[in-house]
Symmetry: C2
Subunit: 527 residues, 2 copies
């Protein structure tokens, strides 16, 4: 837990820091410009696409959906009983909420923001309010790189991405199921995934949600890892050290797996993200306003469930919304309609007073080409301007989430770095106004050598480590490489130079001891 | 002038419209979804990055620059005399403006918005207010495509891009010097460029600014093209049928070439765009606030000059701002700092009450790769959210403007199409709210077949003609093409199917007669 406070930038690997002279200066500059913050606190306004009347209409429609249509909670009698006891109208597995009930349950006890603790306290993140936390992509069965193309992911790939996320100064979080290690048995791979986050990174991470038992395993491993720090001595309650993705089965349905995992986490004071997963046109209406009302209704129902399980447990309003091609039925990403949904949902979450998850570097492209880049930028900018607190899928996402791209990961990390600068806004200090520079230089001269430029140039502009801004001739002489090729070289260099953050041996052993005991207590299975 | 009112969509070429059955239905769908509007009137709010206090500070700093430092107007005694007569402090070529003077001159007579007329009146554009007009990129000496790589541009390339812009439903304007036809003599190529816009498109266009005589030639050609429609019978004044790019020589300098062209256009009631061309760190301070104050000061001085030449002549506040790499000095594009400048400048133009030009699909990448796409999206989204009225460089820009890309053009046109949908905002009608759909479908079902989806699916989502959303397997079976390869096929198909818009023969002859007389009246020269 004594790891350096400052994330290690790509160009300043640990162990090389002591180097003197020109190299050291470069490393120092790089560290300063690498935006090494545990999370972002925005200093620019939100972009609001709807006015008060529009937002109220959607809130009213969500209430109508909850009251008239209702939400199915499947195969979980306890959930139905909790809702009935709280005053909902429960018929079969259908739960209908008297007007305003779900909202009231959520607002009564949900924290507006909360801290997710990391094993390195300098990496703790605050989720909610004006904060933005970037996490890698989640859930791909495949990985892709330029060398081997597309292939099933393995635990080795998983560890690689944990390492790359650890090395990325613009990622604040290690994520969860970065890719599915299909070389491990389905019923045990959660142990290796969670352990990889604990071992190869000191950033906060996500837990398993594919079975309540696996959620409990994650909690037990976290208890072992955090040791004496797991319980907050002031409250006597567990600290929130895991955040977990609980997707609704849209439209208007939650299933027992997700509900079971949510119960485990909520009752251990661990965070959940209740996310209606919607491809508009299939799981919701083909319109933005309809998709928003349904998303809000589903999220309210799920968050209310969490608060009934454990009032005050941290819970995030999630929205994953994209569209489908109305010709082929294929999901599409980076189009304007989901961006509009994102802006509206962010505003609705703020009005509700809860943390918000959405967006990321989403794309439908199979490869890290211009389509991938446009689609990702068209999602990431709304993510930042709209005000997302927890950004899953910041880096690596390809092919609608089916594939995790090594080059795409590096490119997305770079984009996330730019977002740090954007969210910092305009420096209106005297130095930022730079009137002395203009007075010094005057008409017809240039600013390159003036005192103000000299004093500010090192941190003046965001510096991309992979963008090529050289002359055409120089670029051609260096092999006419495209961005994906430069990103390919970058991820290999990073993995070659990676060094694991220090981890207390006793804690490591405690985690491994739990994992080994559990693993040997039941047979492997791929179900 | 009897051309169809609806721009011809890529997939619905003229002359094929009569085809029946499935083909006709597809063409009809395509036309409906191609956002065929002469220009965009936004229905979403502006994004504001600075508050009232910040904007006032920058306005005050601009006034201070104008008053204390001043602006050089080089080699143009008439300009100096105009400013002196208006009350400015003129010493040598340096013009200093008493506090508020430039702003007062601009606000007294500059139109808040104006119509630029096209030879097809259905293509007239309104520049200013809540309107957005997309025009192609401008000024590249090189062109690039996947087949031949990078090469010097020719008049054939120029005509190709005019044709592609004509065919693009999301471009409202034919642009100006789309690329430099270096196969033609420098002192005569403006004739062929302007004629290409007149002949191969019926969208509005831009004039020559490289010499006052060439500006006058552009005006005379426009008089011939518009014939009886050139003079507005109500006012007896020329209609505004040309818009022209007048760049400042930043910092704080205007030169005789640009001033001379501006005079010609202003005195003929043609529109000018006064644009400080700034790479921050070289032509302005390394900060956003400093760059904005300087840009505003320069633009105010230039716009005041236009209003002194002809009070009431249409003039646009332009801002072209990017950064340089502080390591290599190379210009950079698509980074966060220029986006912040854009948001601030758009707000300042609105406060001033004048039309605003900025942004586009800017990038530094040499090729149409992921770098190009990220950088372009990171410029285009701020362009639309910030509220740019005239968007030069919407399509084709590569390599910091040195190269015009055929594939990049097609990709950017697609992005501009998406911006139409974004700027249309959220449909809050009953149909947009889609509550009937949610009631009909209910929990656990899907929306694909419901009545609301059936009624709305054709126009539900933006449809990209070049994005690939198919399954991995299908994409692989079709050759694993990236976006640039698909765009390559698209531009070739478009050029093969292009048909010129009808042009009245007498008007065509009148233009050609002027061109031929002028061309034969002086010798070719490359100076």
């Amino acid at each position: 837990m004594d790891e350096a406070l400052v994330p290690v930038a790509e160009s300043a690997p640990r162990g090389r820091r002591a180097g003197g002279g020109r190299e050291a200066k470069r490393a120092a500059r790089s560290a300063r410009s690498s935006h090494s913050v545990p999370y972002i606190t925005r200093r620019i306004p939100y972009y609001e696409v709807l006015d008060e009347e529009g937002l109220q209409t959607i809130e009213r429609n969500a209430d109508t959906i909850l009251e008239e249509t209702g939400i199915d909670f499947r195969d979980d009698p306890e959930a139905l009983e909790l809702f009935r006891a709280a005053g909902a109208d429960v018929k079969g597995e259908r739960v209908r909420f008297p007007s305003g009930m779900a909202r009231k349950l959520v607002q009564a006890t949900t924290p507006r923001e909360f801290t997710q603790f990391a094993r390195n306290p300098a990496r703790n993140v605050v989720i909610g309010g004006k904060n933005t936390v970037f996490a890698p992509a989640y859930g791909s069965p495949f990985v892709r790189d330029l060398d081997q193309g597309r292939r099933y992911a393995t635990i080795e790939d998983f560890r690689n991405f944990v390492k790359l996320a650890y090395l990325a100064p613009s990622l604040h979080h290690s994520g969860g199921t970065i890719c599915e290690p299909v070389d491990l048995p389905v019923n045990k791979r959660h142990f290796d995934m969670v352990y990889a986050h604990m071992k190869y990174s000191d950033k906060p991470f996500m837990g398993s949600v594919t079975h309540p038992e696996r959620a409990q395993d994650t909690v037990e491993m976290a208890k072992a890892l955090f040791g004496d720090n797991y319980i907050d001595p002031l409250t006597g309650k567990p600290r929130t050290v895991i955040i977990n993705l609980i997707n609704a089965n849209s439209p208007m349905t939650f299933d027992e797996t997700m509900l079971g995992a949510a119960k485990v986490y909520a009752r251990n004071n661990q965070a959940t993200i209740i996310t209606p997963f919607i491809l508009a046109g299939a799981m919701s209406p083909v319109t933005v306003a309809g998709t928003c009302a349904q998303t809000l209704a589903e999220a309210l129902a799920g968050m209310a469930f969490v608060q009934l399980c454990n009032p005050g447990a941290p819970v995030v309003l999630g929205s994953f919304a994209s569209s489908i091609s109305m010709q082929s039925g294929a999901p599409t990403f980076g189009t304007p309609e989901p961006a509009l949904v994102l802006y509206v949902m962010a505003a609705l979450a703020r009005r509700l007073g809860v943390p918000f998850r959405s967006g990321g570097g989403l794309c439908g492209s199979k490869i890290a080409d211009a389509q991938a880049a446009s689609e990702s930028a068209n999602t990431m900018l709304p993510t930042c301007l709209g005000g997302v607190n927890f950004v899953l899928h910041t880096a690596g996402w390809l092919e609608g989430g089916l594939s995790m791209g090594y080059e795409k990961f590096v490119m997305d990390v770079d984009q996330a770095g730019m977002m740090h600068t954007l969210l910092a806004g305009v420096d209106m200090s005297e130095n930022g106004q730079a009137m002395d520079a203009i007075r010094e230089v005057g008409p017809g001269k240039h600013f390159l050598g003036c005192a103000h430029t000299q004093a500010n140039f090192e941190n003046a502009f965001y510096r991309s480590p992979i963008t090529d801004n050289n002359s055409f001739e120089q670029w051609e002489a260096e092999g006419s490489r495209d961005l994906a090729q430069r990103a390919n070289a970058s991820f290999k260099k990073q993995l070659a130079e990676y060094e694991a953050p220090a981890l207390d041996e006793a804690l490591d052993e405690a985690v491994l001891d739990y994992v080994n005991r559990r693993k040997s207590s039941f047979a492997d299975s791929n179900v």
